[in-house]
């Protein structure tokens, strides 16, 4: 049910703090940078880490969907944005939009934003498939245990209720209610009792759940902790790499190196300003490198 699948590699065994820190740093940097080379560096880093975590197959649909979205963004940008001085195409007048004028700068801006979108969707794909949601929730339970408990219970109830929905629909089918034939309106109407029955039975269950919580002494004293995740040397290394790349990124942004002017005329790349992109990319591929080392050398595996 859950999108997450446990896989036998280092990245899946990371402490949630390291994984969340890594993901946050990438999102922050992706929004901070506008230079296409810097963004491409981030994309390469995330891609390597996703492949190292063995989630290439899950990543592919994300890539395809984002590519479709990028095309849309590029088209909208090219048609609507009139800024830019290198005109590629001078179109006719269209009533609402005015004169259509497609410029190289607008297309390049679309591509730059597309890479940013790709970085962000990829990093969320990484989060969905390589980080266990329960571990992350446990990380947050220090700040608000009631909200986290509600979220955890709800996550647990979700698959249970899906099973309920299937059961109720099957019962309805056995009773001769037509759920798949007839007009669209008829089908919707025939499916409504499913929701009503689901509501009643789940409310009844929530009552029992609350009583069993009460019976186990929920809220009767200070909370205790059953398991604790340990921060291992590998986690520290990744945390360090994430902080390092964040600092480098902020520094590069302050120098104005990671910014890029698209309008009115594309800026030329300056090689000296791009070296920081290299450093950030290398620092952010640390999890992938550690992951490969973890597989190759048992000694390293035992140490981190």
């Amino acid at each position: 049910m859950l999108a997450y699948r446990e896989k036998e590699n280092l990245i899946h065994k990371l402490h949630p703090l390291a994984a969340v820190a890594y993901i946050t740093v990438i999102i922050l940097l992706a929004l901070l940078f506008s230079h296409p080379v810097y963004l491409l560096g981030l994309l390469l880093a995330v891609g390597t880490v996703i492949i190292a975590s063995g989630n290439y197959r899950e990543w592919k649909p994300y890539l395809l969907i984002s590519l479709g979205l990028i095309t849309v963004i590029m088209l909208v940008n090219a048609v609507f944005v009139q800024a830019g001085s290198t005109v590629l195409f001078n179109g006719p007048r269209v009533p609402v939009l005015g004169k259509i004028r497609i410029t190289l700068e607008a297309i390049c801006y679309g591509i730059g934003m597309g890479i940013r979108l790709l970085v962000i969707t990829s990093v969320f794909c990484f989060y969905t498939y390589a980080v266990h949601p329960d571990k992350v929730l446990k990380l947050f339970s220090r700040f608000g245990n009631k909200s986290v408990l509600a979220v955890t219970l709800s996550t647990r109830l979700f698959p249970l209720m899906i099973r309920d929905v299937r059961r109720i629909t099957e019962v309805q089918r056995c009773r001769g209610v037509k759920l798949d034939t007839g007009s669209r309106w008829q089908r919707v109407k025939n499916r409504l009792p499913v929701i009503n029955v689901l509501l009643l039975s789940s409310l009844e269950r929530s009552w029992q759940m609350a009583e069993s919580m009460q019976a186990r002494g929920y809220g009767s004293g200070k909370r205790t902790c059953y398991t604790r995740d340990l921060l291992r040397p590998g986690d520290y290394l990744i945390l360090f790499a994430a902080v390092l790349s964040l600092i480098t990124g902020i520094w590069a942004a302050r120098q104005g190196w990671s910014a890029y002017t698209y309008y009115p005329r594309l800026e030329s790349f300056k090689l000296g300003e791009l070296k920081m992109a290299m450093i950030i990319m290398l620092a952010l591929t640390v999890p992938a490198m550690l992951g490969w080392g973890w597989k190759k050398w048992p000694l390293l595996k035992s140490r981190i």
Binding site: A3, S154, L157, M161, R187, R205
Partner: protein
């Protein structure tokens, strides 16, 4: 104490918003794609903070978890037929019966939990916020009228179909559109109009079909939840 922190969060949000539009300070004209989730996060932190401090019992927590899971699951039986789902309606009716706090928590958790299964994304905080506010607004409506009135509830539900899209558009606009001008703003909103209309129509239809029965079931449950102790006079 809890009032103070709540007010502090509101003031902080206001200062941050003001700082981003008043020239002459380091936050002026910040990166909006980065700045807007911070504002949304602060607003949600205020609600979650209130909930943490509220001394909710195990029954309330179980109720919130159940209704949130129900709202998330209800996307499934209808997904095969059409693109509308009763999630917004379920969040709103919960807020209507159980009040603003429960309504917000149910909406926010429903968005979060359904995305555990459908995939998290940068849209998660925005969805959490939108659905949370759906619950809050329905609770405010319940304060001004007695019992369940189909007409006003349906109007609010239909309105939320649009408002939901409009809030989500802000995110899309600051994140991926350039330049941030009135024209691109209007273009983004025109592009989302058909989807919002579908959402609104779905909300109204679900209110008409399920409203009364959901209200009665939830009301009965609420009455069971409330235990009043009275001293026996001898």
């Amino acid at each position: 104490m809890k009032k103070k922190i709540f007010i502090a969060i509101i003031i902080l949000t206001g200062i941050l918003l003001a700082a981003s539009v008043i020239p002459g300070n380091p936050l002026y004209n910040v990166n909006w794609a980065l700045f807007s989730p911070v504002i949304i996060g602060l607003a949600m932190a205020a609600f979650f903070w209130r909930f943490e401090q509220s001394g909710a019992t195990s029954k309330e927590i179980a109720l919130i978890a159940t209704m949130a899971a129900l709202a998330a699951v209800s996307r499934i039986p209808f997904a095969a037929i059409m693109s509308v789902q009763p999630t917004t309606f379920i969040v709103m009716i919960t807020g209507y019966v159980f009040g603003a706090q429960t309504g917000f928590m149910v909406g926010a958790i429903a968005a979060l939990v359904s995305n555990f299964f459908l995939g998290q994304g940068p849209w998660t905080p925005w969805q959490m916020y939108c659905w949370g506010l759906c619950g809050v607004s329905a609770a405010l409506l319940a304060r001004v009228q007695k019992g369940f009135k189909l007409n006003t509830f349906a109007i609010l539900a239909g309105f939320w179909g649009y408002l939901f899209g409009w809030i989500m558009n802000v995110w899309h606009w600051v994140g991926f559109v350039y330049p941030l001008t009135l024209e691109t703003f209007i273009a983004t909103y025109i592009a989302s109009f058909p989807f919002d209309t579908l959402h609104a129509a779905g909300n109204v239809v679900f209110t008409i079909l399920l409203g009364k029965s959901f209200y009665q079931v939830l009301m009965r449950f609420k009455n069971r939840l409330l235990v009043v102790f009275e001293e026996v006079k001898q």
